[in-house]
Symmetry: C2
Subunit: 287 residues, 2 copies
């Protein structure tokens, strides 16, 4: 239901494939539609349930976050970054199209994310909506996701301690996961600072757990089951939770983060049911 709502919203937000410049719009749609677990929009929906948010508003906010995520994957796969050829079981955007088109498609998806956040009413209070724009911009930028990617680049071939790994992932994937959760909540009734803090702590733990599981899957999975190149972290000399801790300790860390995440939701009661389900989904997808 919410999966379909987010696919519909993404489809509607993207320019039609026959609109000029056709190749650019086709590349944008190729990279966004028909794949992806939509974890970030699902987090937005689940957080929105805590604040009785209108699902249409949450769909738009979640789509904006997903567009940022999709652009980051396109750029991350480029030859000057991870140089990957497979994503979501399909050729990466620059393989299917070309490097220049992939670069521009990523750039345009970032612009489109901010356009979405600004062009529809997402909060009854326009000042709060400006806060939402700021929140996504910070999460995407040099002290958020893009900064995390820079830390990731710098880490290739080095050994990172667990706190250093945590710092990298809090930025690279965590910033956007936290933004998705908070934006979903902001679409609803005004939230107390303490509740926002709880949601943020939940999202921080889930983001890290998500990364630990990703590292485990990359180390243990196959290209066929992952839909992306397996074992590439080790091949590229990237430090991971598995290389820092070993499989067994990494699994234990994921369980601890899962428990911490659920603990953060204690005061939210029944409203946080779906957030708890998502936490289970993120952590249990490996086993």
């Amino acid at each position: 239901m919410q999966q379909r709502r987010i696919e519909t919203r993404l489809e509607a937000a993207l320019p039609r494939p026959e609109v000029a410049p056709v190749r650019l719009h086709q590349a944008m749609r190729y990279a966004v539609l028909g794949g992806g677990k939509r974890v970030r929009p699902l987090l937005a929906f689940a957080a929105g349930e805590c604040t009785r948010a209108d699902p249409q508003r949450v769909a738009t906010a979640g789509a904006a976050v997903e567009l940022i995520h999709a652009y980051s994957l396109i750029h991350d796969d480029l030859p000057c970054m991870d140089n990957d050829v497979l994503r979501r079981g399909k050729p990466t955007c620059h393989v299917e199209f070309d490097e220049a088109t992939a670069l521009l498609a990523g750039d345009a998806l970032q612009s489109l994310a901010f356009q979405l956040l600004a062009e529809e009413r997402l909060s009854d209070d326009p000042s709060r909506q400006l806060e939402m724009v700021k929140l996504l911009a910070r999460a995407s930028g040099s002290r958020g996701m893009a900064g995390g990617q820079a830390l990731d680049l710098a880490a290739v071939g080095t050994t990172l301690s667990v706190p250093e790994l945590e710092n990298m992932h809090i930025h690279k994937t965590g910033a956007l996961i936290r933004a998705a959760t908070l934006l979903g909540a902001h679409c609803g009734t005004a939230v107390a600072a303490s509740e926002l803090g709880a949601l943020d702590h939940f999202a921080k733990c889930i983001g890290l757990a998500f990364q630990v599981i990703d590292d485990l899957l990359d180390a243990e999975g196959t290209t066929a089951t992952l839909g992306k190149t397996a074992g590439k972290d080790a091949d590229q000399g990237k430090p991971t939770y598995v290389s820092a801790l070993g499989n067994s300790e990494a699994r234990k860390l994921a369980r601890e983060l899962h428990r911490d995440a659920l603990g953060a939701l204690d005061d939210l009661g029944e409203r946080a049911l779906r957030l708890r389900q998502l936490a289970d989904f993120v952590v249990l997808r490996q086993f």
Copy 2:
């Protein structure tokens, strides 16, 4: 005076070079500071004078547009795009740093532009400020600047008619020049639709004139006087106003656009003095 105001605002908006991730922040600062004519912020200031806008607000809006412009230059210079090594008399960002860092610096500058537009009060009416975010996002995206770059890529090695050239440039450079002008105006008192229309038409003409002059300078100038590689349009097989019209007709077109631009300002009277001066600067810089 306004030059200094915009440099100060850009400097303050950019993360300090010693803040982690250091290399990324250094690349962002390298690409933005210490160069550039700042035509877009100057247009914002001049348009802001038509609406009695607070110069501090205009500086922030102008800085946001300049950050988008700077990111587009970084990405445009990358090997998969124009593959250029010289910009504003210095090595391009990917030459000075590396391709991956340049890619991320561009990405992060785009995020920072939207952060700037959202985090300070730029209009007494937050709904209008959301409109400003939407305006910049549209101007930057696939039906604005990024779309124009895609048209530019597709045009390499082909011949374009003057209307086709105009369509390309209206997107590639025109969208951002129009956005700068309108954002500057939006920082001030509410503007009548007819005045916004006049400012938009002025900016459209000036944007095209700017491009015609750029084509003339590229064909006639030297690398030393331009601060970027001269003659690269012809070398790269790019259609230009000079290749479509010849030097003499291209000059004539620039003069016509200049006249049209000034005509659009007729009803604005004395308030548009600085816009007229800028129009002169843009067109006369060749002669």
